[in-house]
Structures are given as structure tokens and as C-alpha cells.
């Protein structure tokens, strides 16, 4: 009885929203499917021609998606066209560079492609009037976190292209994953676009003002003070933890090398 209740719930709520025939006709779905196929080809272990073909097909899929998604405005004036094109460029850069990062064979190229993707994401933040976050993404993420990654990559240096960078995991799950990922995105996009927009929200109205930093600071330290303190504690704990992990590892290595030194000394004496 519970099983039949659950199945009727699934049928009524989920499947009723995801109408498969209309999805097959929608260009959004086909754009996503083509770009998923492109990503799958680009991830494959076969030669460089298949991977280049995969990149081209992925790009075509993204173009289809850009055409298919609803435009930002009615595109009547040059200003609105400029806005649309800027949005396309920024989001294309973010998504394209992240796909290149995932399919790159060299881990240093991955890090640099990811930094380029972060530039696109920071641009998208600036587009939405989140100026502090746009700059903070570039300074903290691209400027500190990725540089840390590159330092660690330098210390753990693979000579040339290691073979574990040229192979991905087993062949069958890859297309399955990519296609199910695309299906997830397609469901989210399509189900959202068919819903009517919610009632007018009682927002603060200060999001688009020119005093961005003043309002952000006010909001952060008034409503979210406890969270700020907690995040500060998290940063301290992470710092101490990272140092502790490295020191403990070094002590163990020093102890083991001292042990071998003493064994050798006793043998030679």
C-alpha cells in the first residue's frame, strides 16, 4: 500500500512535470545532449583526433544551448543585444574553460583552464551586481587557491605526462555519467522555465544600489555575525590542521630515516 502510494506520488509530481515527448522536441535538451556527447568524446582514451572532434561537438552543443535558452530581454535595442552577447561570452567562457579543464591531459593546463573559467564566473558575478564577490573570486580563488595548487603540483612533480593523466577511469561509466549529468541539467532548466514566477518578494531593495560595499558590510556584520565568527574559527582550525598534518608526516619520516641511519651506523661500526 505504501509502495502504491509512493508510485502514484512519483507519477503525479515528478513524471507529470517531466513530459518526455515535449522534452524530446525542445532545443534545450538537444543542445545539452550534443554537448554531453562532445564532452564524452573529449574524455575518451582514444587518439587526439577524437578528442578534438569532441571539443568541436561540445562547442556546437553550447551554441545550440545559447540559441535555445530564453533571451534576457526582448532584444529591441543595441544595448540589450550587447547585454545578451556579453552574457553569452561570459557564460561560454566559464563553461567552455571548465570543460577544457576537465579534459586536459596535463594537470598544469587544468589549473590554468580553471583560472580562466574563474574569470568567466567573476564576470558573471559582476553582471549580477555582486561586485565584491566578483573581485573576491579573482583575488582569493584564482589568485591564492590556484597558486597553491600549482605550488603543490610543482612539489609533487610528474615528469612529463604521467599515464594516469592520460587515462580516465573505466570506459562504460563515463558516457553514462555525462548523459545523466546532462539530463539533470535539462530537467532543472525545463521544469523551471515552465513554472510561473513567484509573487513579488519582499526584498531589501538595496541590492542594486551604488553603496554596494556599505550594504554588504552592514548585512554581513549585522545579520550574519555569528557565521563570520564561525568561518574565522574554521580558517584557524584549517591552518593549524594543515601545519599539524605536515609536521606529523615530517617527524615520522625523520624518525624512520634516523632509525635507518642508526642501524647502518651500528652495522658499519
Amino acid at each position: 500500500m505504501i509502495g502504491s502510494g509512493i508510485s502514484t506520488w512519483i507519477r503525479s509530481s515528478l513524471l507529470a512535470r517531466f513530459d518526455l515527448s515535449s522534452m524530446g522536441r525542445s532545443l534545450v535538451f538537444w543542445g545539452l545532449a550534443v554537448s554531453a556527447l562532445g564532452l564524452c568524446l573529449a574524455l575518451s582514451n582514444t587518439g587526439i583526433r577524437w578528442r578534438r572532434l569532441g571539443h568541436v561537438i561540445g562547442g556546437l552543443g553550447l551554441v545550440l544551448l545559447a540559441i535555445a535558452l530564453p533571451k534576457l530581454s526582448d532584444l529591441s535595442t543595441v544595448e540589450k543585444w550587447t547585454q545578451q552577447i556579453v552574457f553569452w561570452l561570459l557564460s561560454g567562457m566559464a563553461i567552455g574553460c571548465s570543460a577544457a579543464a576537465v579534459t586536459a591531459r596535463n594537470p598544469v593546463y587544468t589549473a590554468i583552464w580553471f583560472a580562466a573559467s574563474l574569470l568567466g564566473v567573476a564576470g558573471l558575478f559582476l553582471f549580477q551586481n555582486a561586485q565584491f564577490l566578483g573581485v573576491a573570486t579573482i583575488v582569493v580563488y584564482a589568485g591564492a587557491i590556484i597558486v597553491t595548487f600549482l605550488f603543490v603540483l610543482m612539489l609533487a612533480n610528474p615528469e612529463g605526462q604521467a599515464n594516469y593523466d592520460r587515462i580516465s577511469w573505466a570506459k562504460f561509466p563515463v558516457p553514462l555519467l555525462v548523459l545523466s549529468g546532462a539530463a539533470l541539467v535539462a530537467f532543472a532548466a525545463i521544469s523551471f522555465f515552465e513554472e510561473p514566477p513567484p509573487a513579488a518578494s519582499s526584498g531589501s531593495g538595496t541590492l542594486a544600489s551604488s553603496d554596494h560595499m556599505a550594504h554588504l558590510g552592514g548585512e554581513l556584520f549585522a545579520k550574519h555575525l555569528v557565521s563570520v565568527e564561525v568561518v574565522g574559527t574554521i580558517l584557524l582550525v584549517a591552518l593549524v590542521g594543515a601545519v599539524a598534518i605536515v609536521i606529523q608526516g615530517r617527524e615520522r619520516r625523520v624518525a624512520s630515516s634516523m632509525k635507518t641511519d642508526s642501524i647502518l651506523a651500528r652495522r658499519n661500526a
Binding site: V102, Y164, W169, L177, L184, V231, V246
Partner: protein, 148 residues
């Protein structure tokens, strides 16, 4: 469809695509550092969605949460890099397949069956000097790594 809804929908699709590409990269790649970069990519996808929602509802909460995401991601990157260095010192490689004995019971072992060849231009054949003449050795040339 109003302009606000269209903008929100586009931002959600971009955020979802970033998240999904990061997810696929995390599962597919074998280099620990690249796996971690893909985790950061997933966080970026979520950030884009949060900013979109914040702007749609004219609420600062989205931007606040993204600020905290950036801070926590930085902390997580520090610890993850320390762990990656420890794993590298124990195993000598950045390959996560080295640790595959931690997998669930019943799952088969992953064996590298087919290793794709390196690219052709990596084969730089040495040239021999004239016999009887000692070649001029440049100390910097010996230490130079042409490919990182």
C-alpha cells in the same frame, strides 16, 4: 516570461552546467589535484546559482553564502593540499588508483589495460658529436626540464 525570470533561468543553467562538469571531472580523473580542482568547480557552480537567486529575490543572503563558500573553500584547499602532499610522500605518485584497495568489497580492481602513447614530439633523439672531440656541456642545459 519576464526579464527577471529569464535572467534567473539562464544563471541556473550556467550554474548547473558548471556543477555537472565538475562532478564528471571529479569522478573521471585520476590525478588527486585535478580531482580537487573539480570539487572547487562544483562550488563555483553553486555560487553562480546562489547569486542568481539572491538577485531574483532581492535578498543579500545569496551573496553572504557565496562569501562563506569562498572562505571555506580556501580553508579546504589548504588542508587538501597538505593531505595530497602526505599521500604523495607515501606513494610517490599523484595517482589515486594507487589507493584503490580502499574501495568497497566486491568491486573489481581497476587495471590499466591500454596506455595511450605519448605524443610524437616528445621523442627528441640525441645527436652524437664528432668522435674524439669532447662535447661542450652546458650545466644549465642538463638541469633544464623542457616539459613540466
Amino acid at each position: 516570461m519576464s526579464e527577471a525570470t529569464a535572467l534567473l533561468g539562464n544563471y541556473l543553467v550556467v550554474g548547473a552546467l558548471l556543477f555537472v562538469i565538475g562532478l564528471i571531472g571529479f569522478v573521471v580523473r585520476r590525478n588527486t589535484i585535478v580531482m580537487f580542482l573539480c570539487a572547487e568547480m562544483m562550488l563555483q557552480g553553486v555560487s553562480v546559482s546562489l547569486i542568481g537567486w539572491g538577485r531574483y529575490h532581492d535578498d543579500w543572503g545569496g551573496q553572504m553564502l557565496v562569501l562563506f563558500i569562498i572562505a571555506v573553500a580556501a580553508a579546504e584547499a589548504g588542508i587538501a593540499m597538505a593531505l595530497v602532499m602526505m599521500l604523495f610522500h607515501k606513494s610517490g605518485t599523484l595517482d589515486i588508483a594507487f589507493w584503490q584497495d580502499l574501495r568497497d568489497e566486491g568491486l573489481p580492481r581497476f587495471v590499466d589495460r591500454q596506455i595511450p602513447e605519448a605524443r610524437e614530439e616528445e621523442h627528441v633523439w640525441p645527436t652524437l658529436p664528432v668522435a674524439g672531440v669532447e662535447p661542450v656541456v652546458d650545466a644549465e642545459e642538463l638541469l633544464h626540464r623542457s616539459r613540466v
